[in-house]
Symmetry: C2
């Protein structure tokens, strides 16, 4: 059953280095790193020079390497590596959510054609085994929704705002100093990171791959003191939440948008850099999984589980795609939102179907109402440029 795993590793950053360390010291994981491909030639590293190569082909063409672990940042480069490895009959473990969210459909086909495996539990929620559980355990048609805080950086910022009273800019700066947020924080705070993870989760949870540009991601970078005050007064916290909702037997919807969360929700208590995911089904009760979503060791642990899974020849079966009727992704669904806008702006721009509450003040006004997801999606590119803040309240 077991096969010895000889790894070709791409990237030697925080995760790569932790992984290398653990593989060296673990007595029972029958896997070792044979070669490491890195980009920068002159960087000082913790290993001897002869363990590294700067030429991708040294790994892709090495007959003795039977598993490639891809842990680089550059999504385009990662895509090229993964594709060539699979074509070359090498299975791959990857943590690159952006690459996967853009190419998963094609990479599923390629696995099938080449009889290889691509595992990527590390790509969504670091150490929380969300993909594996959705693929294996929730493998029937009863799954109704997945609701998750999938991005640690933005959650850290919101925690600091709500629990310690920091303003957005100070909280963001703190997150950056601690290494939780990128120097260009848009990937995190504007919901792209959550979006990529949601796309991957949806492919396993419901069997349908949707391109990232077809899904709404709206983040927290427009949040103002007024919104925070509004949430506090109503006993909400604001969280950046990714949601996947089965609408009926034929269709589903998904989106990433800040949410006004009541204290009785599981995700209300997910604080700081943690991730939390709630899986709900028709017969299942709600399941809540919680852990650190990012960072070297949490991500490394997910990579490690994928590596040992390969030693048992595990591969994703994409059961929902193979055996179930394909669900259609729809955006004509109405969602209830809070919209805070500058009183000088004409809110009719947002085409609400129903207005439930309306408040006008000097400077800030708000509306609570129902709006078609498609109408928000049309505005996706400009939403963060307007002096407004949107948050989901309920379906």
């Amino acid at each position: 059953m077991n096969q010895k795993i000889n790894i070709g590793l791409f990237g030697y950053g925080v995760v790569g280095e932790s992984l290398h360390h653990v593989l060296k010291h673990s007595k029972t994981v029958d896997a070792g790193v044979r070669k490491i491909c890195v980009k920068q030639k002159d960087k000082k590293r913790s290993l001897e020079q002869n363990e590294f190569t700067f030429n991708k082909d040294d790994i892709i063409n090495d007959q003795n390497i039977n598993l490639v672990v891809e842990l680089i940042d550059d999504a385009d480069e990662a895509y090229d590596i993964v594709k060539r490895c699979l074509q070359n009959k090498k299975s791959v473990v990857s943590g690159n959510k952006k690459m996967l969210a853009h190419h998963l459909d094609e990479l599923i086909d390629l696995q099938e054609k080449t009889d290889t495996a691509l595992l990527y539990d590390a790509s969504a929620c670091g150490s929380i085994p969300i993909i594996r559980n959705i693929e294996e355990y929730y493998d029937n048609d009863l799954l109704k929704s997945v609701t998750g805080i999938l991005n640690g950086s933005s959650n850290y910022i919101l925690s600091k705002i709500f629990n310690e009273g920091l303003d957005y800019d100070t909280a963001l700066k703190q997150a950056q100093e601690l290494g939780f947020a990128e120097s260009n924080p848009g990937l995190d705070v504007d919901g792209f990171d959550s979006l990529y993870k949601l796309i991957i989760i949806a492919t396993h949870a419901l069997g349908t791959f949707v391109k990232p540009n077809e899904v709404l991601n709206y983040g927290i970078s427009n949040i103002k003191e007024y919104d925070i005050q509004f949430a506090r007064e109503k006993n909400f916290k604001i969280k950046l939440v990714a949601q996947l909702i089965k609408l009926n037997d034929e269709s589903f919807t998904m989106f990433v948008i800040p949410r006004l969360v009541r204290p009785d929700k599981y995700i209300y208590n997910v604080e700081d850099e943690y991730n939390g995911v709630v899986i709900q089904g028709e017969f299942y009760d709600k399941q809540f999984m919680f852990g650190k979503g990012a960072g070297g060791y949490p991500t490394g642990s997910a990579v490690l589980s994928d590596i040992t899974a390969r030693s048992h020849n595990y591969k994703y079966e994409y059961k929902k795609q193979k055996y179930f009727k394909k669900l259609e992704y729809r955006t004509d669904h109405e969602i209830e939102i809070y919209l805070r806008y500058n009183s000088m702006v004409d809110f009719s721009y947002f085409e609400f179907e129903t207005i439930l509450e309306k408040y006008s003040g000097i400077g800030n006004s708000y509306i609570i109402g129902k709006i078609k997801l498609a109408n928000l999606l049309k505005l996706k590119a400009v939403l963060t440029k307007l002096d407004v803040f949107l948050a989901y309240i309920r379906n």
Copy 2:
């Protein structure tokens, strides 16, 4: 890959009936119940009489049944059914933790000999997929500990005591009225239910099966207002916690005992009838899984996942047992405990190794100190009969 599952069902209680309902209405689960074996002939049931049999052999010998689902209460009867089914080349899904905790070693061997599968994710923590995750995802030697609230009834009682100020007897009565606790509540409140689940979890988490009578289970039935007051003053809650701890590369220990839990622990917020499990490893970060541990639908969902897993020919591989060095179960480990005792009692009976704090009062006194687990284990049979209360503080 998929095979059509024809089920022979033993038991038609809450879980059995929910399961039957869902299988009838699910479009994609390719499984149907062919026959149901029940005990009581004259009970009114929701199905036609001809769907039932009262003779076990009608299922065990039916060539068209390829999966037996065993959902009865009686552990001895369940053992007989499971053994005979496996011997008869029929795979089984079971939720009977008591039966499994007493016979798992033998049933693992029998599966191997007969090339059958026995799945039982429903036996530990209802809808939380703890066994599957430990078996598949945490399948290397880095797992350090599993800490869990595994019994919903006793947790419900403790929640009512700590959050609503009920006394133990009133809380117990309420749990019984709501159907959370058995009419003979000892199984829950004295930690037997948690113990059985811990035995099953340990077999998958570390690969070593230990007989239930060799493991300490001490519950909450001796709790007094004094203990509750003590915990409150120190900002603890008391929870009934099952713990599995790897001591080093050679050995591990485990026990079920009430624990004084600080607010910064994940399990602190597990309330009412919920279960929560924390998995910790050397490289892994802490993972927390949370959900309803008992009841018809939560348990039914776990049974359902086992059934669909069988349609994909899934079986537990018992990887830790097969591929890893066997860890020895030890009890010579010291644990730090709080012991409240009646001031008339001679506490030297407990053979503390170290006493850290000692308080004497009229009526109640307490000691905090270190004691060998083996010393508590020796007293297992009499502990609940003494006017004392024990709680774990830390290692």
